[in-house]
Symmetry: C2
Subunit: 299 residues, 2 copies
């Protein structure tokens, strides 16, 4: 299984996810923006906006390769002269505060030395946490994890709790999900083909598990204060992506394609000094549940 095959599978995955998300939205379609990278490779960034469900979102495929720069060596720890990387990245910002923000990434890295690994993750960021909906999401992830390795879900759920976390707020980004990196076939007693299939299964799960979240929230009536709260939560999402997210930081600092990297940002976000929700409100309930280590499967 060569790297071109993996990139091709990720393209097929991007096509599938875009088609399914257009069905879920029912109105808007993706616009494609093709780009080339001077040092080698390129991508197809697909953007959706002003939908019935999705206010702003992107599903990006990229396949980049070339020499390992100083900053890649230092910040990504890449050892070798040249690298190859391919993946699919998604962030969706819905209109309704009762539909969660969602993110997914699956990626494959290969060095000229022959070393390779897979990485990825899916996490859910509800503006309003509903424990039963978080439970559906985690059950879907566990189901895919369990069909490959019985240790995946617990390990990767805990990894997501640690990764999708804003230390300066002492808040998790949302109800977590799974996150993994530097995964090789040997690490997890699978073949390389199976590890790719794990990534592809997660990708195929993505629109299905998100559709459940959409259906549960899309028709709920929205008040102006709830839109304000949605925008404050989007502000936290911006903080995470610009201050902490490794991919974003690395991309911006190493001369990546800015618009593709920052497609993860919402249309509108807000900040208020010292905003504190009312005691016992759904907003306070959400804040109180932005914690690591919650067993959402049984919440």
């Amino acid at each position: 299984m060569n790297r071109e095959f993996i990139a091709e599978q990720f393209k097929v995955l991007q096509d599938h996810i875009c088609k399914r998300l257009e069905e879920v939205d029912g109105k808007s379609v993706f616009i494609e923006d093709l780009w080339k990278r001077d040092e080698g490779g390129g991508g197809r960034t697909r953007i959706i906006k002003d939908g019935t469900i999705l206010e702003k979102g992107g599903v990006a495929f990229s396949e980049v390769h070339g020499p390992v720069s100083e900053i890649m060596h230092k910040q990504l720890g890449l050892d070798g002269e040249s690298f190859f990387a391919t993946g699919v990245s998604i962030v969706l910002h819905p209109n309704s505060p009762f539909v969660p923000i969602i993110h997914m990434n699956v990626r494959y890295f290969e060095m000229n030395t022959g070393v390779y690994w897979f990485g990825g993750g899916i996490d859910l960021t509800p503006h309003y946490i509903k424990p039963n909906q978080a439970a559906w999401f985690h059950a879907d992830l566990k189901n895919v994890c369990d069909s490959y390795n019985s240790t995946f879900y617990e390990r990767f759920k805990s990894w997501a709790d640690d990764y999708f976390y804003l230390p300066h707020r002492d808040e998790t980004r949302g109800v977590g999900g799974i996150f993994f990196d530097h995964l090789t076939a040997e690490d997890c007693h699978l073949t390389k083909e199976q590890l790719l299939d794990f990534c592809l299964d997660l990708g195929r799960l993505f629109p299905e598990t998100y559709e459940k979240q959409v259906l549960a929230g899309k028709d709920l009536e929205v008040k102006p204060d709830q839109l304000n709260w949605r925008n404050l939560r989007r502000g936290r999402y911006v903080e995470f992506n610009l201050v902490h997210d490794r991919g974003t930081k690395f991309g911006l600092l190493s001369g990546g394609r800015t618009e593709s990297i920052l497609m993860s940002l919402p249309k509108d976000a807000s900040w208020e000094y010292g905003f504190t929700p009312e005691v016992d409100s759904p907003e306070a309930f959400t804040l109180n549940n932005l914690k690591k280590g919650i067993d959402w499967l049984n919440a």
Copy 2:
């Protein structure tokens, strides 16, 4: 002149600026939020919002001291066992897209080794660049600079061009201003008292020079598209502060007081994928002038 005296002068400066800005706004007043730092010192953050002119802004005084942590040593290059730092920081986000965003900071650092320095800067970020207004602003800054050292304006203007710059956008934040750091009395043939006076004069200039910008823009009629453009420009301000600004990054990573650090963020900001203004529009004129090295004095 001891450090307590400098901190006291910065407090007086904060009082003066808040009083003058309340006069400029004509409606809203500052709310004070006092805080203590566990390791030593504290601050008084003052916030204004929902004004006639100012939608969201902060004027913060702080005086912090204590042991030099590992992260301070690494990221700020502080050599010594303990430090003392005091300063005033301001960011103002106006309602009108025709009134610029403005930022100011003056600060004093002292190490237990006896080494000390001053730093600071003022820069202007118009949503719509008007060369004559940029010229007033730069003339005011040059005037204060020239009364202390004839090399200050040119050096510090160029420093601001380099500092208030978003490499991932290849845009300056606005029309610049002045920026300086690690300045000692010997460096610039002044006494330490004169260097403090330079910082205080800049601080006293701040509300006066901003008032001119406010008066020039506050009564212009605003269309919805212009509010949209204002929010996109605010999005860039968020990107600069969260990705590049040294003070913000250091503060968030070293466990500073998050709400005081992020008082610099606007109420509402927006992002649009690949937004391009119409050719020959005022928005395109603004983008084309977000460049280093423009002689705004004679623009």
